[in-house]
Symmetry: C2
DNA sequence: AGTTAGCACTCACGAAGATAGAGTGCTAAC
DNA sequence: GTTAGCACTCTATCTTCGTGAGTGCTAACT
């Protein structure tokens, strides 16, 4: 069944009211506060219909109604109007990306902070996906009698480093030669494709460095695999505590421990790949049982059209969607721009 | 006044009981559960004395007693016995540091995780203090028309990187030359001492790179200053919620927001520099008002005798001190050993 | 047919009171 | 110096009860 004009008006009013009060909304409140144009009795009938259709829920018989996941979804898709952020607010965000000397990691960290502060919810920024970056350059530096430092740089200017065991002394000369050979060969490879077999083609060329070839391969491989390089930065953990729906200590604990498991977060963000721009998961739409009461507004930041990482705001289903969407959008753009600038 | 044998016995029993129950301890409980050898009435008198002397506090008139900061301090300094961790537990911790290919940052992160999991409190690990590390090597790589990547490596094998603006095209050759000059000159300097004036002595040598000298200086400076390089990793945020004393939502929020401010944490850890080994701050002994109800057990991990960073466990004053001390100790040692191994 | 007023009914929530129980401090006897 | 006994204090918990917001239904109204 379609939602007629009046049902939409009612639903919209309920959601708006509930978002700002966190209290179940009753028909009388609605009739008084919002200009629906009919009496509370009529609204009651509409609400009853909306509940039957799955857009509303009732916490208990004699309470007002609360939006269901479906209700929120309809609101987000059809009822909500986008908003424009204050100039000044946008300014605050953009100023973050103006600093001259830039270490990417601290930029990511600050992004998480600013996103949590402006939204008043929890923010989450995933560092660059090295796996998908292209190899640019590596350097092997002697550290000691038997250890060397492997520094690896991608085309985008991301750096990764490891200590590897070279099993016995390797001098600068020797490491330099290996570096050169590898640099020539790996040029242009995507890090994700540099697997254990990567060096097979070079076996003859590298034969004199037999003793640490295995370590080197592992070094290159781990560097580029899994969630290794994709650190996740949280901001505003304390913000979720403010929300009345998360006063429950057990639930809070579940949420926090979930957020500490980077692998889960990684899944959370990758499942939500539909389409470009800002994407929204409401309540049960996300895959983590502990986050069923949350909504997640996320987006992908890019460099030269390629995905670098994701960022998200996590809040109660009752979140201020228009504002959060606008924030995520502007932060994502700013961060992408910043990256582009770093290479300009 | 000195605490006689019996007062000490009473104090000890109270603290042990309170640590395990989180409930104010009464005289009758004490007489029954602990072998003090006198009646509850006598214990009452002793408790009254102990309160007068500042070792105990009473939440309200008709409740049992609770240890004061001073009480805990006496316990930690004089009454408590150290414990030995289970072999198996030590094994779990040490196994963390056995992996072959090592990226230091992920090791630090895992340290925070294991420390929080084994202690069941919140753990905190501060990354390497680059400021105090010695310059080893730097490399400038062209990123684009006008940007270059500055990669900086310390003697300990820590890596830091930045994007700097070179104002117009700089080719590999050019950047290589600058790198060489800087490498020669900065050899052996402590990063903290590479200030804005660092390159003054090289002005003539570098005169042909005038256009990006300023940026370069800033790059080198920021790299080594402030809390920039000293990232702080948290583990087990969810653990503090378990503690009955932190059920209060407002307090919890204060604690969490405090912990997100790295600068504060940095202060917290540096104030506590007395002596070697594991150090303990109880309640009001730390400088942060939001953490007055917490105790902090911290230690310094080192490389070749020099401080690299700190780590800490934060829990309620009512924490299991012997266990946490043992854990912090073994983790600190393991991490230091791991670092030493990386350079061996 | 759709809308509205009226009304009985439900149910969570908060205040108020009652009760229990743990604990203290004091006194007097041992 | 130690202990038993006892009156007193105070919190935590449970129950009860009233209140008010809200619903759903019915019957009248437009």
């Amino acid at each position: 069944m379609e939602l007629d004009q009046r049902k939409q008006r009612v639903l919209r009013a309920i959601i708006i009211d509930y978002i700002s009060t966190a209290e179940p909304v009753g028909s009388r409140t609605l009739a008084k506060k919002y200009d629906i144009g009919v009496s509370s009795a009529t609204i009651r009938n509409e609400m009853s219909d909306l509940e039957e259709m799955g857009y509303l829920e009732q916490p208990h018989t004699s309470a007002g109604r609360v939006p269901s996941d479906r209700g929120y979804r309809f609101y987000v898709d059809s009822l909500m109007e986008g908003i424009q952020l204050e100039e000044q607010e946008v300014g605050v965000i953009k100023s973050l990306y103006k600093s001259k000397v830039k270490e990417f990691e601290s930029v990511v960290k600050q992004t998480a902070r600013v996103l949590s502060q402006t939204s008043d919810y929890l923010a989450l920024v995933q560092g660059p996906r090295l796996k998908e970056s292209v190899f640019r350059y590596l350097q092997l530096l002697p550290l000691s009698e038997s250890k060397a430092l492997l520094v690896l740089v991608t085309e985008d200017g991301f750096v990764q480093n490891k200590v590897i065991d070279v099993h016995g002394y390797a001098d600068v000369q020797e490491l330099q030669s290996v570096s050169m050979i590898l640099n020539n060969y790996l040029q242009g490879h995507t890090l994700g494709t540099i697997g254990r077999g990567a060096l097979r083609d070079l076996l003859t060329e590298l034969s004199s460095y037999q003793r640490f070839l295995k370590e080197l391969m592992e070094g290159l491989e781990v560097t580029s695999s899994g969630s290794d390089g994709e650190k996740i930065y949280l901001g505003g953990t304390a913000n979720i505590i403010k929300q009345p729906e998360f006063q429950d200590v057990v639930r809070l604990q579940n949420i926090l421990s979930t957020l500490e498991q980077e692998a889960l977060i990684y899944d959370l963000l990758s499942h939500n790949d539909f389409g470009r721009g800002v994407s929204i998961q409401i309540g049960g739409e996300n895959s983590l049982p502990e986050l069923q009461e949350c909504s997640i507004v996320s987006a992908t930041y890019t460099l030269e059209g390629k995905t670098v990482g994701k960022l998200a705001v996590i809040g109660p289903k009752r979140m201020n969607y228009p504002r959060v969407i606008a924030l995520v959008d502007v932060v994502t753009r700013s961060l992408s721009e910043f990256l582009a600038d770093s290479l300009r």
